[in-house]
Symmetry: C2
Subunit: 223 residues, 2 copies
């Protein structure tokens, strides 16, 4: 359920926490986000780190120096992992503090990490997910770069997705003052103005990949 | 390190993955985000769920139906937990796929969950963190609402914070084509247009709390 903001008369209906079983909704969530949280057990203790990922078909490709250490260990020992991807979609402003809430979509995939068969292709997929089309503008990964990286795969076999969407609870007899505004304030990531690197020559045009990236989400107003 | 976007001639410098030991930087991250990921071990398996939180002093207050089940169990058994809060701050567009990256800030707090001494005050703090000032516009939580909720506390005693900021790696002799644009595209959450609930009377003005909330982050352009 999408919040539509174009017409002032549109009102949000409530669709509370619920399990989502729609595979397309899962793909939309995974393809909309860039970072998830990988949890594992190390010496009986929970560990969790943020990691970049890319969905390719029914696999999540993981790769990230942040969690490199324990992720690699998890591969070697075939330790179970859980990988959570969450999108915070809005703040739900109810007429009581108790009913105030957040709209979100969240998926947790359970399984084990495995090395990918073709690291070169997997690294390209990860990069293309981050900045689509960038591969055509820069040199290919060198053999040394590929050799120095390990890309891991988590199959989307065992996934639980949950979501909350829509407006606040408005149960009768909840003691709430109906004259007060209630509703939802949507929240979404937006791009800021790109900033060139130190060595980018003056007047260098922004490449097609960055122009397209900027079009893929709303742009933050210049402050 | 903040990316400044106002002057075209400003260039981002690189500040790669590093551990952050500045307590104020930790507070800024925690106070900027609304949702973290709680990881624990259940029957030897890793579990992770998104949860709303509020920082009050050197405690994180947690509360959220999503993870209610295992969080409560973790309290009862004094099981160790890890709670991660991450802010994705931008996409780093390098001149190679290999060096492409993300700017982020991330903190992981380790410890055990404990019940709070004053659930009424803790619930108010959680609500005030979500929508500052809303408490003055709506009725107080009822005794039954407070009784039906458990707010948990995770002390910020054992926290690891990491961050990456600034532009891409531009090492000499990396085989990269220097004529190509490289830099950073900042990313930040922004508010969309508020949508009134079904039972909000027409012409009801937006309350001060929502007006202030909208000012607290950039506003998405109306599409």
């Amino acid at each position: 359920m999408t919040l539509t903001n174009d017409a002032p008369a549109r009102r949000v209906r409530r669709l509370a926490d619920r399990q989502v079983t729609d595979r397309d909704a899962l793909y939309r969530l995974l393809d909309d986000q860039l970072v998830g949280h990988l949890a594992a057990v190390a010496d009986g203790m929970p560990i969790v780190v943020p990691m970049a990922y890319a969905r390719v078909g029914d696999d999540l490709l993981l790769h990230g120096s942040t969690g490199g250490g324990f992720a690699l260990r998890a591969v070697e020992t075939r330790a179970p992992v859980a990988f959570a991807v969450t999108s915070l979609d809005g703040v739900v402003v109810a007429r009581s503090l108790y009913d105030s809430s957040m709209n979100y979509r969240s998926a947790v995939a359970y399984g084990t990490l495995e090395p990918v068969d073709d690291p070169t292709a997997a690294l390209d997929a990860l990069a293309d997910r981050l900045i689509p089309g960038r591969g055509a503008e820069v040199r290919a990964n060198t053999r040394r770069e590929v050799a120095g990286t390990r890309v891991l795969r988590l199959a989307l076999d065992d996934v639980v997705m949950k979501a909350r969407a829509g407006g606040p609870s408005e149960a009768p007899d909840d003691g709430e003052d109906r004259s007060v505004w209630a509703g939802v304030v949507p929240l979404a990531p937006a791009w800021g103005e790109p900033v060139a690197s130190e060595l980018t020559p003056e007047q260098t045009p922004m490449p097609e990949s960055v122009v397209a990236l900027m079009r893929s989400r709303a742009r933050l107003p210049t402050l």
